[in-house]
């Protein structure tokens, strides 16, 4: 297969056509923060954490949905990007209700980790404190909208890996919510197979199994990528 030449953070690299800038970075050990990307799922560019600067393009572009191109010059770690990543992270915390002290995911949460990695010691924006539902109607799992960051990893894991299509997205902006079936209690779903893939895919304490208590939650989001890899294996 042909390879292309592109520059990332001052380094010329050989990359494969068709891969995303994020793939190229990961292949070459260059770290870019992500939340809505999960190996094994399609990319939607929802969280805006992976934004990069591209020479000759005045708009920042998400690395997870932008394909590599020959002679592309990309910057992943500039002052401007660090500033935006901090802002984005703060807005996640300001938008819903993240009370880490009593959260099931405390200590095992991708959002919390992100806060640490961008050096967030406080949020500069006013908290919105929305009233959010906690749906505990499912036999095994709880969906707590207080902790949801709308990355839609659950929606894609359910549709693309399990093929059940239980989850979807309703409304826009401040009122946007993940819904089960047609916005009915999860426990009444006619599509959910109770497989738990959404729970593993979810980066925060929004979806969790009932048998766990505060701070105990451990998820295995890597399982989604592994499943997809095995599914695509050709056995001869």
């Amino acid at each position: 297969m042909d390879t292309l030449k592109m520059q990332i953070d001052g380094q010329w690299l050989d990359v494969t056509p068709g891969m995303t800038i994020l793939d190229a970075c990961r292949t070459h050990g260059i770290h870019i923060p992500t939340l809505c990307h999960l190996d094994g799922l399609s990319d939607v560019g929802a969280c805006r954490l992976c934004l990069v600067e591209i020479d000759g393009n005045h708009k920042l572009q998400p690395a997870c949905t932008t394909k590599v191109a020959d002679q592309l010059v990309v910057h992943t770690d500039t002052e401007k990007l660090r500033n935006y990543r901090r802002i984005t992270t703060e807005l996640f915390f300001a938008e819903r209700n993240h009370v880490c002290a009593v959260c099931i995911a405390n200590g095992h949460c991708e959002l919390q980790q992100l806060g640490y990695s961008v050096g967030m010691d406080h949020v500069r924006y006013p908290y919105l404190f929305p009233e959010c539902n906690v749906d505990a109607s499912h036999e095994k799992f709880v969906m707590d909208h207080n902790r949801c960051i709308m990355c839609t990893r659950c929606v894609r894991a359910c549709a693309e890996v399990e093929g059940a299509f239980n989850w979807d997205v309703m409304n826009r902006g401040f009122n946007v919510r993940i819904i089960s079936d047609f916005n009915t209690p999860w426990g009444e779903s006619t599509t959910c197979t109770s497989c738990g893939k959404c729970m593993h895919a979810c980066p925060t304490g929004a979806i969790w199994p009932k048998e766990y208590a505060q701070g105990q939650l451990k998820k295995n989001p890597g399982m989604i990528g592994e499943l997809m890899e095995k599914r695509n294996m050709k056995l001869t």
Binding site: F93, N97, H98, V99, C100, A101, V102, C103, N106, G107, Q112, G115, Y116, G119, M120, D121, H122, V123, R124, P126, Y127, F129, P130, E131, C132, G215
Partner: protein, 180 residues
């Protein structure tokens, strides 16, 4: 170096941050060699005199807290938010998702443990709850933040000993940021 004046103050919090402060154990002697404690919940109830550093635990939940915070800001050269309640409102802010009247009715009348005729405490002597609980930096300028519920004793000691020796603490650089 001149001895500094240090104050620690308790607003809308559970005193867990103060407990964690006491967990610095014998290192408190090191701090005592650099500063005088001019006010603290474990010392007395006087109003805050002018001071160099005020560590403030807890959020602003009432008219009384608000007044006290404005007073602290006037008196303290350096104001430090201590703990998640001061910085995010944390548990104390969970009532912000609802109307205060509903929260009060729930707590004092409709709660399962209640006889449903309970009155809520409204003696004029008592502080008046704000409709909303605020983190400190939404009302006054805050100079440093020590997140955590509670912040680790080592983290509190790190910030205090830096400030008492006129150094800039930087929790990010020393990888001591923690929530919850």
């Amino acid at each position: 170096m001149e001895r500094k004046k240090l104050a620690t103050i308790w607003l809308g919090g559970c005193s867990g941050c103060h407990m964690s402060f006491l967990d610095i154990d014998e290192r408190i002697l090191e701090l005592a060699s650099l500063a005088d404690i001019v006010k603290s919940p474990v010392v007395d109830g006087k109003s805050l005199p002018p001071c160099d550093i005020a560590l403030v635990e807890g959020s602003v939940t009432s008219d009384e807290h608000r007044e006290e915070l404005f007073h602290i800001r006037k008196q303290a050269r350096i104001l430090v938010s201590l703990g998640d309640c001061a910085i995010t409102t944390n548990i104390t802010g969970m009532r912000n998702y609802f109307r205060t009247a509903d929260v009060m009715r729930n707590a004092y009348q409709d709660a399962a443990s209640n006889d449903r005729v309970g009155n809520y405490p409204d003696d004029p002597q008592l502080l008046k709850l704000n409709d909303k609980v605020y983190p400190l930096h939404e009302l006054v300028k805050v100079d440093y933040m020590i997140p955590g519920c509670p912040p680790h004793a080592d983290t509190i000691f790190y910030v205090l000993s830096a400030l008492l020796q006129d150094r800039e603490p930087d929790l990010d650089r020393v990888k001591k940021i923690k929530y919850g």
